[in-house]
């Protein structure tokens, strides 16, 4: 916990972390305003609900990737883990395990797979990129073993609860963001940034570097399978390859949100904003009537622009 005497330090750290994010927040706000202008239906409960549903899975994987990148790690297995979460949900929930059993199974699988990757990468001192690449093949294979082709089912009421005309997705995201805040206040959470920014120094200072990193992998796995669970609920069924695109998109969202590759740099709010930008971009381009080719180009330009913006403002600030 932060003692009262540390409040000034806390806010200084927050200010440091927010630096460079203000540009992104402005861009995201502008896109949301433009979207609401182009599609006024967005500002209804149903509109917000539907948009939050399409955004939530990406937000979850962005968080899953960001937590690893904060510790100096990375995962190429996020997409496969999402697929695994979706097929476990779609094969268990209508069986004797029921919805509650399915949620437990999905969560347990995510935590276990994440922790295992973490232990292998951290304890054996292997590069995360290699470990998770290999894990991606194994996990994708597992998903195909469980469900060789799209199928399975999610109980209708559960789908309606999570992805009907209620803003459940938005509440879930807010809830998870709050949990993240709480986690950062625990000893393991506190160690995250230290373990990522200066692992040797942190270790000498008595920070449980390895434990913090392995916990990050486990949480990352959990967030990924939960994203899969949500997709299964949203679509009413499971697809063993549905998560594929999430690996790259999770990295894109995290980087867009100012999370650095080398660890210790970035914030979860940035990663979530990054995922929001990637998601709202798709809708805005549709309503602007962009052709598919123009969409490819525009998407690339927006991403480069949003990443470059903090650099440009930082340079501007220095020369001033």
């Amino acid at each position: 916990m932060i003692r009262s005497g540390d409040t000034a330090l806390y806010w200084r750290a927050q200010r440091e972390r927010n630096r460079g994010l203000l540009g992104l927040f402005a861009v995201v706000a502008a896109f949301l305003a433009l979207y609401a202008y182009l599609f006024p239906g967005l500002l209804t409960v149903a509109g917000i609900s539907k948009f939050a549903q399409s955004w939530l899975p990406l937000a979850l994987v962005a968080m899953a990737q960001a937590i690893l990148m904060l510790t100096g790690g990375i995962s190429l297995a996020i997409g496969a883990t999402v697929s695994l979460g979706a097929v476990i949900a779609a094969t268990t929930m209508t069986g004797y395990l029921g919805v509650a059993g399915g949620v437990v199974a999905v969560s347990a699988a995510g935590l276990a797979i994440g922790a295992l990757c973490g232990v292998i990468a951290i304890r054996l001192r292997l590069p995360a990129i290699i470990v998770t690449l290999a894990a991606a093949f194994i996990i994708a294979g597992l998903a195909l073993l469980i469900l060789p082709r799209p199928g399975g089912a999610i109980p209708g009421w559960f789908s309606d609860l999570l992805a009907g005309n209620t803003p459940a997705a938005l509440f879930i995201l807010i809830f998870i963001a709050l949990l993240w805040k709480l986690y950062l206040a625990t000893p393991l959470g506190l160690s995250l940034y230290a373990a990522g920014e200066n692992p040797v120094g942190a270790y000498r200072a008595g920070v449980p570097v390895d434990a913090a990193r392995i916990a990050a992998y486990a949480i990352s796995g959990l967030l990924s399978t939960l994203a899969g669970l949500f997709i299964a609920a949203q679509t009413g069924s499971g697809d063993p390859v549905i998560g594929q695109a999430f690996t790259l998109n999770s990295i894109a969202a995290a980087v867009l949100g100012g999370v650095g590759f080398l660890g210790g740099r970035g914030t979860m709010r940035g990663a979530i904003a990054g995922s929001l930008l990637l998601s709202v971009m798709i809708n805005v381009m549709f309503f602007l009537g962009f052709s598919p080719v123009a969409q490819y180009v525009a998407q690339g330009l927006i991403i480069i622009g949003a990443v470059a913006l903090p650099q440009i403002t930082a340079r501007f600030r220095r020369t001033r």
Partner: protein
């Protein structure tokens, strides 16, 4: 003059629409939408040549329908291969209240709920080629992938006299089309124990990965008597791989990929091919408008598999220059064919 004619056309079509509306309307159609219509083309991936050709047939059909005053706008989305993005884009089409959505699904299960939402809003949904597991659509249009695998396997077994060692080349794992084609071959293979499957591959429907996969299989298997390929680019890749290693050509099945058909002629092969005609896209567009005009269209339009063999290949290659080098030479189509297909129940 022209305006008067098209006004008359619109009038006529509306009349026909109103008359048949009373009898029976297709699923998802509520009868509250009037021409000219806005059509949404929810594409999963626009980059492959196959998709560009499909989009070409859709655009051409839309031009025809525009002339008749039935369609005024075609909006196109590209999910870049991401089934989740496709759901989001279909949702945007619903939000923008398009009159019809034509769809190639990136996942056979994922878009089911959003498609049902569209149907409930009275949007005509025509799903073709890659189908969604839901009945909440106006119509599905497809060839029969099981029949594809079955006919291909039977042809190959016949060529080998019921005895020989073969390779099986499949599309990507976890995709229902590729799974269905492979499953369709099962019965024939089981009935002919003399056929030994040396190895199977799963690759994307692309020449390069197929060539790479077959190259390594060739090193492992000195004797191969035939290849059961369940995709056109896969066949082309296999032939290129064998050619590079100087292996004798064997009977091979395939699909109407121009590259494969040209290699077939070039290497003087004994082959067989079928196709998923690109004009399914045009047919889907036509069907959507027919349904919106109040016509009762069949819930499933089964398009027969056109067959290419050594007796008909020349007629396809004669038209080759009209198709992209890495594209598909599809069979000819016109509105008469479409009406026949829609009339068949």
């Amino acid at each position: 003059m022209k305006a008067a004619v098209s006004a008359l056309c619109i009038g006529l079509f509306t009349c026909i629409g109103l008359v048949s509306e009373a009898s029976a309307a297709a699923k998802c159609i509520k009868g509250d939408r009037k021409a000219p219509y806005t059509i949404g083309w929810a594409n999963i991936y626009s980059v492959p040549t196959w998709m560009k050709q499909t989009e070409g047939t859709i655009a051409a059909e839309v031009e025809e329908l525009k002339k008749k005053g039935l369609v005024d706008k075609l909006v196109i989305t590209d999910a870049q291969g991401d089934a989740n993005v496709q759901i989001q884009q279909i949702q945007s089409m619903i939000d923008a209240d398009v009159d019809a959505i034509i769809l190639i699904a990136g996942s056979s299960t994922a878009p089911a709920r959003v498609v049902a939402d569209a149907c409930a809003k009275g949007i005509a949904v025509i799903n073709f080629d890659s189908l969604v597991d839901t009945d909440e659509v106006t119509a599905k249009i497809n060839t029969d992938s099981n029949e594809w695998g079955d006919t291909a396997a039977k042809w190959l077994i016949d060529q080998l006299g019921g005895k020989g060692k073969i390779l099986v080349l499949n599309g990507p794992a976890g995709i229902s089309v590729s799974d269905d084609r492979r499953k369709g071959a099962n019965a024939a293979l089981a009935a002919n124990p003399g056929i030994e499957i040396l190895a199977e591959t799963n690759t994307a429907y692309n020449v390069a990965p197929a060539q790479e996969a077959v190259t390594s299989l060739l090193f492992a298997h000195p004797q191969i008597d035939g290849i059961l390929s369940l995709g056109g680019a896969l066949s082309a890749g296999a032939i290129l791989a064998m050619d590079k290693q100087g292996r004798p050509m064997v009977p091979i099945t395939g699909e109407n990929a121009r590259q494969f058909l040209e290699l077939w002629k070039d290497k003087d092969l004994k082959s067989w091919a079928t196709m998923q005609p690109n004009w399914l896209g045009a047919l889907a567009t036509y069907t959507a408008v027919q349904a919106l005009e109040g016509k009762d269209v069949p819930a499933f339009v089964k398009v027969p598999l056109p067959i290419i063999d050594n007796s008909t290949i020349d007629s396809y290659l004669a038209r080759a220059k009209d198709f992209p080098a890495d594209g598909y030479i599809y069979s000819p189509y016109d509105q008469k064919l479409f009406d026949e297909l829609l009339a068949a129940k």
